[in-house]
Symmetry: C2
């Protein structure tokens, strides 16, 4: 994919592994077994089965934040990581940090992450657990301590918004705001964390000066790796994203009695706006630079088959690797939409309600990932199209990400699947990148 | 408007009024006063005010079928029409027939009609009441008896579908089906008719051999008369109408991670279908023959701003004066939609769930309306774009309609308005057409 982000690793010196580290390899079968074990909980929720929390029968997972299955898998995560020499911290948001000591325990730990569906999210935790096991079985004591982080409520499916607890950690949300978020039945996250025993008392306060670092492994949630038949890819940043509400007002009138040339049909205008949005990002110059724009939310009224729509609202999602291209797509959309509305006698409002600027990951860490992934035959860099916990955590600590191939690019769906060998490649890329960075920290500290 | 329906009156002999009838004129101020009196009930519903039945504050009417205001206005209608020499029949559906005897009471009455909003529907009843008053004050005994009909539940707003009780009369629905229709609170029409005391015991059984006839006055519900600045127009039939459900299935995927060229976006496909529908009836040859097609119902899922729509359903309304043009538009839509779906990898179902064929009104009655309306300077014939009670009643008796100008073509809205002089023209056109038809019946019977 074309991108305006600088190639992160190009200016870095070689980050070769030390002899001790270069012989280490992950165990593919064990990684897969750990993943399957983690999915023991979530198929039959212990929580009362209601319309909000249906029992899954399709191979998908239902382990919403703070339900009883989430409690069980948290207990399992702590018990398993204890076996590999970890102690644990649980912060005020229920984020769990499984910390394995290093040679220099004054240093903050290097982290690997998160939580979610069967692959989406959870694969990151599983890869982190495999790294811990490789270190443990080889009696390795790394220079800095290492931690695997289980973030609470990554998807926001039960307690919106998404990435709530990494957001608290990153300073986007206050603890009080996050504790007060309610599910559709009116239960709050704070109360539910308390109920399952994961309302930690000590705040986790990251500081950039301590120079810890986070690596995140995640399924791609897109089809690029699957089409390219590559198991992993280096993620050098996250796309720029903006969300908009568009409201179109026309005039309700009778479909049978209103001549075609005397209509102000809000749904016809909305349809032309959806087509124009697609045209801009497939035909204009932004197409070649990875611009994307989508309308996937529509509400029309009065929704009567013989009354021309008087009011339609749309949700618009614009993305591109560069902030400037998101701005360009926004300008072209606004101008195109205004022209459509003028020609149909429609009124429009165009409201940008959310901005997430383009994010560049840490150059040294991206370099570590690149050298590790290149050993697996995967040297292509990509800009993530989706937001991740990294959007928030990167405000506090250096970040890099590794994407793992998923079948047909499907995520957030029971059909979500990554092959054992692709998951293993993700764990191996993480191990190599992490060990390189631990070496880098050791050498940097030694220089001081 | 161009039309394939034959000009009804062209082959008829002159239907001149007799000397006695030709001197009669309606009273415009009285017609308006009757209309305003009828709207005494409905502004503050006596029924409990709930979300379903809100109190109106905008000048509109809320007098849903069988609420307490509907009961009051029915009582008023009976009491008023008694003053003009009428007796009454109430049938099993609560339809009220106010019958004024003629010289030959073995004949069935000639009817004028219906019920509804402040102008939509109710104007027909008011014009009929004014005709009764003109006959009464001039001591006229017509040849056949005359009746004004107040149809129950014309709009179907409380008890769907629309035109339910004229539908029972016309043989479309059974009495049991109609009695069992429920409002959103679960109350049935049969029980509610009983509650307000308008569940009649005698069935009204129209038979074509008896040769009664129905005239209907209705606001146009469209802008053609308002643009032409004409108070009334001759309606020679009702357009052909078909309704369709269209379902489009694509593939849900992430807006951020799915490249533009790897999407099956059901909402983009639906948008192109809406635009194509409009193109067919504005650019193809059916445009010049009055073809209309509209999509005003849309449901998209999953309605998440960052998930491309996987499923969209649409409601399509096709109309034209000729059945053959509705079929042609259907063919062009289906073919165009299939092409769009193929190019986006979408699946489509296309289901025609309702057909209302084109309806030609009775040539003699349309001729009576034409001669009466021509005296008012209005000699243009029109095909109704909307369905009316006449669609059902015309199955049993000869029908004709008169449209009255309404401001901006607005109906089904508090802003619905017809000027006093336009309402009066409607009543005068009805009086002239009705008296001509009464003369025609007298002459026809005399010949036998």
């Amino acid at each position: 994919m074309a991108s305006s982000l600088a190639s992160a690793a190009s200016t870095l010196p070689s980050l070769q592994l030390s002899a001790k580290y270069s012989s280490l390899h992950i165990n593919a079968a064990r990684t897969n077994a750990t993943l399957q074990a983690a999915c023991t909980w979530g198929r039959s929720p212990a929580r009362p089965v209601t319309n909000l929390y249906p029992r899954t029968t399709d191979g998908g997972m239902n382990r919403l934040t703070c339900n009883d299955d989430d409690e069980s898998v948290r207990d399992w995560f702590i018990s398993e990581t204890q076996k590999y020499g970890c102690h644990h911290k649980v912060d005020e948001m229920g984020n769990i940090f499984a910390i394995r000591p290093g040679q220099n325990n004054n240093l903050p730990p290097i982290d690997t992450q998160p939580t979610g569906g069967k692959y989406d999210g959870i694969l990151g935790v599983i890869c982190g657990m495999e790294v811990l096991q490789v270190l443990h079985e080889n009696n390795i004591t790394t220079y800095a301590p290492v931690a695997v982080v289980n973030w609470t409520n990554e998807e926001g499916a039960r307690f919106p918004p998404a990435m709530l607890c990494s957001g608290v950690w990153g300073g986007e949300f206050s603890v009080n705001y996050a504790h007060g978020r309610q599910d559709p039945e009116g239960e709050s996250l704070g109360e539910e964390l308390k109920r399952i025993g994961y309302l930690g008392s000590t705040p986790w306060e990251p500081t950039k000066t301590q120079d810890p670092a986070h690596f995140e492994v995640h399924i791609e949630q897109g089809p690029i790796l699957d089409v390219a038949e590559k198991p992993v890819r280096i993620v050098k940043g996250v796309q720029s994203i903006r969300w908009y509400n568009i409201s179109i007002t026309g005039r309700e009138s009778h479909t049978g009695t209103t001549p075609m040339d005397r209509r102000s049909d809000a749904l016809l205008g909305a349809a032309k706006i959806i087509v124009e949005t697609n045209r801009i990002v497939t035909e204009n110059e932004v197409a070649a630079r990875g611009g994307r724009a989508t309308i996937a939310v529509i509400n029309s009224s009065p929704q009567s088959i013989n009354t021309i729509a008087g009011k339609v609202s749309l949700g618009l999602d614009i993305r591109a690797p560069a902030d400037s291209d998101v701005e360009l797509i926004e300008q072209q959309c606004r101008s195109g939409f205004e022209k459509i509305c003028r020609s149909h006698g429609l009124q429009m409002t165009f409201d940008n309600f959310w901005i997430s600027p383009a994010l560049n990951f840490d150059a040294t860490m991206v370099g570590c990932v690149k050298q590790s992934a290149t050993e697996l035959g995967c040297d292509i860099e990509i800009v993530s199209g989706a937001g991740h916990n990294s959007v928030y955590t990167s405000r506090k600590v250096p970040m890099a990400m590794i994407f793992v191939r998923c079948r047909d690019g499907v995520s957030h769906h029971p059909a979500e699947f990554s092959r054992e060998e692709d998951c293993a490649a993700g764990a191996q890329a993480l191990l190599g990148a992490y060990l390189r960075y631990d070496d880098y920290i050791r050498r940097s500290t030694a220089k001081i």
